[in-house]
C-alpha cells in the first residue's frame, strides 16, 4: 500500500515540527526515516498512523486520509507497551480488535510469535518481559496484523548489543514475510542502510533527501546531511568536501589531504589516526600493519574520487545540489 504526504505542515502548539511539501512511500518498499533527535521522524510516523492531524496538507494511506485508513496500519512504538495479562492475551487482543476469527487469530499469533522468537513467552505476563523480549513481543504484535502498512519506531531500541545484532540480521526476512510497505524510524545510519531500500532524511522538521538508499547516500544535499551520514568534512579552496565513510586511506591518491596527527589509537584490527586538516578534526583508519605516525607528525591521506562530494558553499541555504568531486 502506498502512502503519501501532500503539502503537510504539522506543529505542536506554536512550535513547528514538520514541513513536508511532498513525500511518497512506495508500495512494498522498506523506507527508513533517518535523522537526528528532534528532526521530526516520530511525528511523521504518528501522522501516517493517523494519531496526529496535519495543520495543513494531506496524509494519504492507500488513497485515504490517514485516520480513516487505521485498519491498514500496524504500529510498533519505540517503547513496548502492553496491557496487564499474558503476552498471548495481548497479541490476541490486537488481532481481535481487527475483527479476526478465533482460528485465524490463533494461527496468526502462533506464526508471528514463533518467527519473532517469543513463542516460549506467550504465557508469561507481558509486563514482566525483559527489554529485548518486550521489543521482540512488540514487533510480533505489529507483524501478526500483516497490515499493508507497517510502522516501526526505533525497532532495535531496548536490545543489548548481542540482541541488536541478531534482530538486525533477522528483521529484513521478518519484514518480507509479514509486512507490506514498511516505514521505520531510526537515528542510526548503519541500521537504516542494513534494513531499508529507501532513505528519507529529515533535519529540523524538513525533508533533506529522499530516494533509493544508494542514491541518497551517494549525493547528500548539504554538508550537515553529509556529516550525519558519516561523511568526513574537509575544507577545500571551493568550499567543503565530504569523504564517504571508510573512504580515507593513508598515502597519496585522487583527493589528497595533509593531516597533522594528534592521536593514534590501536583498535587491534586497525589503528585510528586522528588529527587536523584545514582546522577540522579527521579520523582515518590505518591498516594495523601500516607504518604508524607519531603525534605531531604530518601525514598524507587520500580518498578515491568516487567517494568524495563537494559543496560549493560551507553552509548553503537554500540547499545546493552536490556535485561529484573531480579532484586531481
Amino acid at each position: 500500500m502506498e502512502a503519501r504526504f501532500e503539502g503537510v505542515r504539522f506543529a505542536y502548539g506554536d512550535h513547528p515540527v514538520l514541513d513536508v511539501p511532498e513525500l511518497r512511500f512506495a508500495e512494498g518498499r522498506v523506507t527508513a526515516l533517518l535523522g537526528p533527535n528532534g528532526s521530526g521522524k516520530s511525528p511523521l510516523l504518528r501522522l501516517l498512523a493517523g494519531l496526529e492531524r496535519p495543520a495543513a496538507g494531506r496524509v494519504l494511506v492507500g488513497g485515504n486520509p490517514a485516520p480513516a485508513a487505521r485498519d491498514s496500519v500496524a504500529y510498533a512504538f519505540q517503547e513496548a507497551v502492553f496491557l496487564s495479562g499474558t503476552l498471548r492475551a495481548n497479541l490476541d487482543l490486537a488481532l481481535r480488535l481487527r475483527g479476526l476469527s478465533p482460528s485465524a487469530r490463533r494461527s496468526r499469533l502462533d506464526e508471528a510469535a514463533t518467527a519473532c522468537g517469543v513463542a516460549h513467552l506467550l504465557d508469561r505476563p507481558a509486563n514482566r518481559l525483559s527489554g529485548g523480549e518486550a521489543q521482540r513481543a512488540n514487533l510480533a504484535r505489529a507483524l501478526s496484523l500483516r497490515a499493508p502498512l507497517t510502522l516501526l519506531d526505533e525497532p532495535l531500541a531496548g536490545f543489548d548489543e548481542r540482541g541488536r545484532g541478531q534482530m538486525l540480521a533477522e528483521l529484513p526476512a521478518l519484514l518480507r514475510r509479514f509486512a507490506g510497505t514498511t516505514v521505520l524510524v531510526t537515528h542510526d545510519r548503519d541500521e537504516a542502510l542494513r534494513l531499508a531500500e529507501d532513505l528519507v532524511l529529515l533535519r529540523e522538521g524538513r525533508l533533506r533527501a529522499a530516494g533509493p538508499r544508494r542514491e541518497v547516500f551517494a549525493a547528500p544535499p548539504d554538508p550537515e546531511t553529509a556529516a550525519f551520514l558519516g561523511y568526513t568534512l574537509v575544507p577545500t579552496d571551493a568550499g567543503l568536501a565530504g569523504v564517504a565513510p571508510g573512504g580515507l586511506r593513508p598515502g597519496p591518491g585522487d583527493f589528497t589531504l595533509s593531516l597533522h596527527v594528534e592521536q593514534v589509537v590501536d583498535l587491534v584490527a586497525c589503528v585510528e589516526v586522528a588529527g587536523r586538516s584545514g582546522g577540522r578534526r579527521i579520523a582515518v583508519e590505518f591498516p594495523s600493519d601500516h607504518p604508524l605516525p607519531a603525534p605531531g607528525e604530518q601525514v598524507t591521506v587520500s580518498a578515491p574520487t568516487g567517494m568524495v562530494v563537494t559543496f560549493t558553499k560551507p553552509a548553503p541555504e537554500p540547499v545546493d545540489r552536490p556535485s561529484r568531486a573531480s579532484v586531481a
Partner: protein
C-alpha cells in the same frame, strides 16, 4: 472494663436477635453512603480521567484544589450544604434540608474530591503510549476507555473504597444537614453519637460493630475484585 464487656455481650445479642431499629439504621446508612459514593464515581471518574490525561494551563491548580477538597472536614461540607439548602438559603425552596437527599448531597461533596484524585493518579500512572496503542490497534473510543479503566482498576477501586470509607464514617455533615431524625435521617454514625450521649453503651457498641462489619464487607468485596488479575 466490666461495662465494656457487658456492652459487647449486649451488642452481639442485639445483632443476632435481629433488632429492628439497628438494622433499619444500618440499611439507611448503606443507602445514603452508597448513593453518595455512586454519584461521586459518576462525576469523579470522568473528571479524574480528564485531569489524568489532558494537559491544560489550569490543570495543576485544579489538582491542588481537589487535593484540598480531600482534606475538607465533613462538618465543613455539611455547613456548606446546610447554608445552601436551609429554608432561607438559595435552594431552600426545594425543601431538602433534614432529608436523606441532603445527606447524600453532603456526602457526595466529601467523596467526590477523593474519587477525582484517586482516578487522576491511577490514569496518570498508566503508560503514556497506551491510549495511542489502543487507538492504532483499532479500539473505538468506548472500548479504549473500558480497557484503560481495566488497566487502572487498582486505583479506581481504591477510589470507591476511599470515597465510601470517608462518607460511611463521617458524622458532622450527616448531623448538620440530616438532623439525626429518628426513623428518617438517623444513620449509624449519628446514632452512635446519640446513644453515647445517652450512656446507652450497649447500643452504641452494637452500632459501631455493625458499621465496622459493613465497611469491612464492602471493602473486602472490592479488594477481591481489585486484586483479581485480568486474563
Amino acid at each position: 472494663m466490666e461495662a465494656i464487656w457487658d456492652g459487647l455481650v449486649e451488642a452481639f445479642r442485639l445483632i443476632f436477635r435481629g433488632d429492628g431499629e439497628l438494622f433499619s439504621i444500618a440499611g439507611r446508612s448503606l443507602l445514603v453512603s452508597g448513593s453518595a459514593t455512586a454519584l461521586a464515581m459518576l462525576v469523579g471518574v470522568p473528571l479524574g480521567y480528564l485531569l489524568g490525561r489532558a494537559r491544560f494551563p489550569a490543570r495543576t491548580l485544579i489538582l491542588a484544589a481537589v487535593g484540598t477538597g480531600m482534606g475538607m472536614p465533613p462538618v465543613v461540607a455539611g455547613l456548606v450544604i446546610w447554608l445552601l439548602l436551609v429554608r432561607s438559603g438559595p435552594f431552600g425552596g426545594f425543601e431538602l434540608i433534614y432529608t436523606k437527599q441532603a445527606m447524600i448531597i453532603a456526602q457526595f461533596l466529601i467523596a467526590t474530591p477523593l474519587v477525582i484524585a484517586f482516578t487522576a493518579a491511577s490514569i496518570q500512572a498508566l503508560p503514556a503510549r497506551l491510549p495511542d496503542l489502543l487507538t492504532v490497534l483499532g479500539a473505538g473510543r468506548l472500548r479504549t476507555l473500558w480497557l484503560l479503566a481495566r488497566e487502572a482498576r487498582l486505583g479506581l477501586l481504591a477510589a470507591v473504597m476511599a470515597g465510601f470509607g470517608a462518607v460511611v464514617s463521617e458524622v458532622g455533615a450527616s448531623m448538620a444537614v440530616g438532623g439525626n431524625l429518628v426513623g428518617d435521617t438517623r444513620v449509624l454514625t449519628t446514632a452512635i453519637v446519640t446513644e453515647t450521649s445517652r450512656a446507652d453503651t450497649e447500643r452504641a457498641i452494637a452500632y459501631g460493630l455493625v458499621l465496622l462489619a459493613m465497611a469491612f464487607a464492602i471493602v473486602a468485596v472490592l479488594t477481591v475484585v481489585q486484586q483479581r488479575s485480568p486474563r
